[in-house]
């Protein structure tokens, strides 16, 4: 079947390759209005024909056209499009393009196969361009997006190197379903799996070799942010419905850079910098032996030394590692063949001993024009990352670094003496020793590739028909090594000293996505119809095998050196199929669109059943033309999208194990509904876009209302029924919110340009109906957890509290969802100097600071012994917190709002002449100093208000059990263009 198709394509492209009967040559230049500089790479096309050309570095172009009057259309990314009529007797022309500072003309992908110019866009799609994304070096795409997208709550799970961030678009949309948006890279859905590695074997945070408390990084981290041209964010069903059952959390469309015709461009950037921890808890000073004994027991009387202060936290996390990044890119090509090649070498040290992140990545993007009608493009990348993160987060073995620190008195020296570390007699481990000797390493090879064949069947002035097929593959293999040598204190105390974990994961996503797009623009009318139909076939597979060896002979790492071995394996596979159709209508300033997607998936109980997701949207632009208000666009859209059950949720299982080798089967904890199916989100979105001061500023205001019905629910059944958990669809959640985006270019003179932007968003979720009694979901039992209850926010924290009458109750003690989020960015260019900075403000939202509790229990918080008088009784600050905690769990529910200076960069364009003596070809040179996460203002008392002990979560983010601390990074960069 496939061979036949390609034969057809080949046949047609040959048969149909008709070339216009050229009668004259038009030449010209394309220049930028304010500076008169040439606009290299501008695309010049002759409307209604296939003829076209590209402007060279001098802005010059030449194109063969038919005799008679024609219209040239000239466009270039970052400039406003210009259509110029050319009479029959004119053969030369100079076209002046105006900079599109606010990107009003950028084409936004709105369907699976089509896009629309931003000026007509009917829903609030946020777009972040590569330059805005990469102003300051970041390890992952998500951290580079922080503060830049209205409606996105982007938060790190910890400060650990190598990623692990969650993007939540427009608030809470699920309780136990997938919490992530769909990531589509160059047209194909990509894996964002986070596979836990196996530090659980060391921390004992949960049972088994690994757990979701292993601080796993989601694999979007493997993408090189420098390769990204644009990121478009469809935030909810109203915009993302065409992606069907995988789109209710929104869709993030990532487009990588491609080559432009013209002279080959070679850019090299060398960055060097360092990072340092931006916040530590601090440790308690003991002023007397009595204090020491009161905190650490009788043994402390022996070990206490007055005046001695060892800050173990500083010893562990006070490193200032050097970081480096080398980035190369090569792009160029001819009209027919264009390429973009990039390479990245990155090394980031960690502020904690023996941690860090290395990334190497290569990308090759190719665009090949075959004849006039067929274009084949290739997008491919391969990345290798190596992440070392140590053991942080929840722990039950007293080995996790911040749990261990809580039991390390500052009067005791725990640093190494010639490589041998003393045991900590007051705890289970010595954090210095663990960090120095434990090996925790995740290595990932991630290959992403797609081929897009696009056949321009018709390219008339009336009919334009494109047949396209994209095939994609996303494959990563992850290897996790955890090795805890038997000489460590905690291993010596174990029955089986020495632990080694080897875990291997293979993940494969396969995708094929054909589509047909027909655009009809009748002559003499200002309207057009765009019809697109297509389908998508996807296979998602994951296989993880973990082996743990204990009691390591000779203290060696290889798992065959262990006398006690155990293993686990997890396999997942999901098969999806979808069909979509979309109709778009444009008449001058009116834009209407309707679409429908239907899909089925093996994740549903009935793999053959189709689910249908419609959408409608429209916008109208009023061109007002006053000096204040140029135009006003009203837009509205409504759409539905789904969220598939996770793999395995539909099964009711017997769990196999053994008792001394005799096979055993037990009832699984989960009883699945026989008709498990996707959650369904219906989103209504409306908004206004204002274009002000002669397109110097735009303001976009958007409100949305999402009803999520048939929620995937986890019902805890009465234990006496012998059932534990039922998974089924039911209930309704409403999530409403408001977003605003402001972009302005208050000053745009030749010498001075100032662009400023602000994003604002808030969202509120509420359970409207629940077919089951209220239940807790996520977090730690009894210490403050989200509770699913009608009329209440699903992210509200409930926990034990005391009523004024002294009786104990369980009631709301906090709220995890921030009140609002704001981003403020500014970019100022004065001649050759350039300054940019970005603030990210999360206001409100609480965090359950369990680490604070652990440190208080150990009486090792720095302020523990500070005197305080409560109700006439003298006590200490720490003891008061502990006493109060007996009555209410509010004590360690702390405000988690913050303002962070995410990015600051100062750069200067040097004269290329400086370098031309060494490299004659240098065309431009820039030096810059920059920093990320430089300053944090927060009342939060833990390490960092960006924290999630359980990783990416629908609800229970903001649980702090001693995560990896946050760091700030400083960079110096030299960028040369050849």
């Amino acid at each position: 079947m496939k061979r036949g198709f390609f034969f057809l394509v080949g046949l047609c492209s040959c048969a149909c390759a008709s070339v216009a009967n050229a009668q004259r040559t038009v030449t010209g230049r394309v220049l930028e209005t304010s500076t008169n500089q040439p606009v290299a790479g501008a695309q010049v096309s002759v409307l209604g024909t296939l003829a076209g050309a590209l402007a060279d570095d001098a802005g010059k172009f030449s194109v063969r056209v038919a005799s008679g009057p024609i219209t040239l259309s000239v466009r270039r990314i970052g400039y406003k499009r210009k259509d110029v009529p050319l009479p029959a007797n004119q053969d030369t022309i100079t076209v002046m393009l105006i900079r599109d500072v606010l990107n009003l003309e950028q084409v936004i992908i709105t369907g699976q196969a089509t896009g629309v110019e931003r000026r007509n866009l009917a829903s609030a799609v946020s777009v972040v361009n590569g330059t805005d994304l990469n102003r300051v070096q970041s390890q992952t795409v998500e951290s580079a997006l922080q503060g830049k997208v209205a409606g996105a709550n982007i938060s790190a799970n910890s400060g650990a190197p190598g990623g692990g961030l969650q993007i939540q678009l427009r608030g809470t949309t699920s309780i136990i379903g997938n919490s992530e948006p769909l990531y589509v890279i160059d047209g194909i859905p990509a894996s964002n799996a986070a596979v836990p590695g196996g530090t659980n074997a060391i921390s004992g945070a949960s049972t088994g070799i690994s757990s979701d408390e292993d601080n796993a990084a989601n694999r979007l981290a493997d993408l090189n942010p420098n390769d990204i041209q644009t990121i478009e964010i469809l935030k909810g069903a109203a915009a993302s419905a065409i992606y069907g059952s995988q789109a209710s959390n929104g869709v993030v469309l990532i487009t990588t850079k491609r080559g432009a015709p013209g002279k080959t461009r070679f850019d090299v950037s060398q960055q060097i910098g360092f990072s340092e921890v931006s916040n530590l808890l601090g440790m308690r000073r003991f002023s007397s032996v009595d204090q020491a004994v009161a905190a650490f027991g009788p043994q402390a009387a022996t070990d206490f030394q007055p005046g001695v202060f060892h800050d173990h936290e500083e010893e562990l996390a006070g490193h200032k590692p050097l970081n480096a990044q080398t980035s190369l890119s090569l792009s160029g090509g001819s009209d027919n063949t264009r390429y973009f090649v990039s390479g990245l070498y990155e090394h980031d040290g960690g502020v904690v001993t023996n941690t860090g992140y290395d990334k190497q990545s290569l990308r090759f993007n190719l665009d090949q024009q075959l004849g006039q009608r067929l274009t084949v493009t290739l997008s491919s990348s391969v990345a290798h990352t190596r992440t070392r993160r140590g053991v942080t987060g929840n722990d039950n073995n007293g080995v996790g670094y911040w749990e261990a620190l809580s039991l390390e008195p500052t009067f005791l020296n725990l640093t190494s003496d010639n490589g041998s570390f003393p045991d900590n007699p007051f705890g289970r481990s010595n954090s210095n020793a663990t960090a120095a000797m434990l090996k925790d390493q995740t290595g990932v090879y991630h290959v992403l590739g797609s081929v897009n064949a696009s056949w321009q069947v018709l390219n008339g002035d009336v009919n334009n028909l494109v047949v396209r097929a994209i095939g994609g593959i996303d494959n990563f293999s992850q290897n996790d090594e955890v090795f805890s040598p038997s000489i460590l204190q905690q291993e010596q105390e174990s029955a089986t000293p020495g632990t080694s974990v080897q875990a291997n994961t293979g993940a494969l996503n396969l995708n094929i996505n054909p589509s047909v797009v027909w655009t009809l623009s009748p002559n003499g009318h200002h309207f057009s119809f765009t019809t697109s139909v297509g389908g998508n076939r996807e296979s998602v597979q994951l296989n993880t095998v973990r082996v743990r060896a204990r009691n390591l002979i000779g203290g060696e790492q290889n798992i065959d050196r262990g006398t006690v071995l155990d293993a686990d394996q997890n396999r997942e596979r999901t098969e999806n199929f979808s069909l979509f159709g979309q109709e778009e209508f444009k008449l001058n300033d009116l834009y209407l669109s309707a679409g429908v997607t239907t899909d089925r998936s093996s994740a549903n109980s009935d793999a053959g059943k189709y689910f249908v997701y419609p959408k409608f949207s429209g916008s109208y632009r009023f061109n007002i033309g006053s000096s204040l208000l140029d135009a006003l666009k009203v837009r509205a859209s409504v759409g539905e999208a789904g969220n598939l059950p996770l793999y395995g949720q539909k099964f009711t299982e017997l769990i196999g194990s053994n008792v001394l080798g005799v096979p055993a089967e037990n009832l699984g904890a989960v009883t699945a509904s026989p008709d498990l199916h996707p959650e369904r989100e219906r989103e209504i979105e409306g908004g206004l876009d204002l274009y002000l001061f002669h397109n110097r500023a735009t303001i976009g205001l958007t409100g949305y209302d999402k009803h999520i019905t048939e929620l995937l629910q986890q019902r805890q059944l009465p234990n006496s029924s012998g059932y534990t958990t039922a998974i089924f669809n039911g209930g309704t959640m409403q999530t409403r919110g408001f977003e605003a985006e402001l972009t302005a270019a208050p000053v745009a003179s030749t010498d001075l340009q100032w662009t400023t932007g602000a994003t604002f968003s808030l969202s509120r979720a509420k359970i409207l109906s629940l077919p089951v009694p209220p239940y807790f979901s996520g977090g730690f039992g009894g210490l403050g957890q989200p509770r699913i209850q009608v009329g209440v926010s699903p992210t509200a924290l409930f926990g034990p509290d005391t009523l004024p009458d002294g009786s104990q109750t369980i009631r709301q003690i906090g709220e995890l969802n921030p009140t609002f989020i704001m981003g403020l960015s500014n970019e100022i260019q004065y001649k050759k100097a350039h300054l940019a900075f970005l603030f990210d403000w999360h206001h409100g939202g609480d965090i359950v600071d369990l680490n604070h509790w652990l440190w208080d229990l150990a009486q090792n918080t720095p302020d523990f012994a500070d005197p305080i008088t409560v109700g006439g009784v003298e006590t200490t600050v720490g003891q008061h917190r502990l006493d109060a905690y007996q009555k209410t769990k509010r004590v360690y529910v702390e405000p988690g709002g913050y303002v962070k200076l995410r990015e600051l960069t100062l750069s200067y364009d040097l004269s290329p002449a400086l370098f031309q003596r060494i490299w004659g070809n240098v065309q431009n040179a820039t030096v810059s100093v920059s920093g990320r996460n430089l300053i944090t203002w927060t009342k939060y008392q833990g390490l960092d208000p960006e924290v999630s002990n359980f990783g990416n979560q629908d609800l229970a983010r903001g649980i702090d059990v001693g995560p990896y601390p946050p760091s700030r990074t400083f960079w110096f960069e030299l960028n040369l263009g050849f």
Binding site: P298, V462, T496, A664, L667, Q808
Partner: protein, 464 residues
Amino acid sequence: MRISITLPRSPRRLRLTALAACAMLTALSACGVTDVTDLNNSSIQDLTGNPTPAGIAAAEIGLVRTARGDRTTEINVLGIYGRESYNVQTSEPRTVTNTLIGPLVQQNGGGLLFGGYVTIREANIIMKAVDNVSGLTDEQKAAVRGFTQTWKALAYLRAIEVRERLGIPLDVDVDPNSAPAPIADRDAVYARIGQLLDSARANLAAGGSGFPFTLPTGFEGFDTPATFAQFAAGLEARAHVYHGDFAAALTDLQGSFIDTTASFDNGVYYGFSNNAGDAQNPFSDATQFFAHDSDWAQAELRTDGSKDLRAQKLLVKMAQPFSLPTYGITTNYQFVITANRETTAPLSEMRNEELILLRAEANLGAGNNEDALKDINTVRVKSGGLAPLPDPYSGDMLQALLYEKRYSLMFEGHRWLDLLHYGLLATLPKAAPNHKIFDANPYPVNECVARNPQPAGCDPIVGF
């Protein structure tokens, strides 16, 4: 306004396009979405739909496995409640707060030994599967039923023993979406346990010479229907003593493996192993489990001035004390099993020594002090290496019995239960003023959420 639309000039090309598009979509759907079966585990259908003897065998060992898990919980938590042991995880303070300080609420401590209902449901599924399975003889089916009912009864016993004054639900096969089963009081629960074990023993008696499955190590001597019935009889005696049915207990004991001449350690054990997919003895974790100092201090002295042999056998002094000042916990002793990190040491469910002491307790309860004293002294001399109590004994017989039970069955989950049964919990020591003694455990949260009005078992238990 008239709209004229120019149709494409190249219908052939269009036809080809349509053909190509159709071809692609057909190819796509031809690939089809096949359903994906469960790649990681077997389905419950294997047991409920088409049961096989092998499937039933594995499910039976599943009952043993959950009983083993519940046994470790019982020893762990009741050891703390009864001030025999500590389980201290510094980074999981709930190990202390939920067992020594409280209050015990639905979320914290509510689930203690309540998980047995899953075992009971599994047992019920097995009972139905046995009716439908082919490949088992009637004798083998009877043996399976008897074995299953024994574990089911034990699951009820564990749930009620920590909720004596509250009662527990009895009916398990209710629709989980409708109102849960009513709470039965302790009399009704112990009556059900008695019925189940009577039925189990009858089935085992009809069970032929062997089980149609292999039992794991630890069941030596109890691995045939006839010998396993002795274990069931012992459990029934235990339940009857807990409920105060002393005459019934004495009858049960006759069917058990009680034997003052045999090894006191003879009995049913749960083995542990280092095998993948199995579990290690949790009490081998030397960083977590500690003994109470009073375990050593209150052991009686032998004639040579050394401590009771049982204390010497079970306890070992640590090189330096373990201390958790914030909670007022300091201890110098550890259990030998922990100190030696015995990951594969078996844990007993029932030993001959317990049966002898149960007989003493039943005789004492029935007023046969002389018979009781005989058994007490047998244990006291043989196990403790202590001088026998004078016959007739003028002291407090109950205290004498409780001392022997405490030291013979130390760290086996009995002391708190014994003191509870005789209203003596207040005699337990408290390490810090804010520590509490609890006399029951509430129901877990999900049991309470499903009930209206809330039964007494949903209230926090503050302790005293």
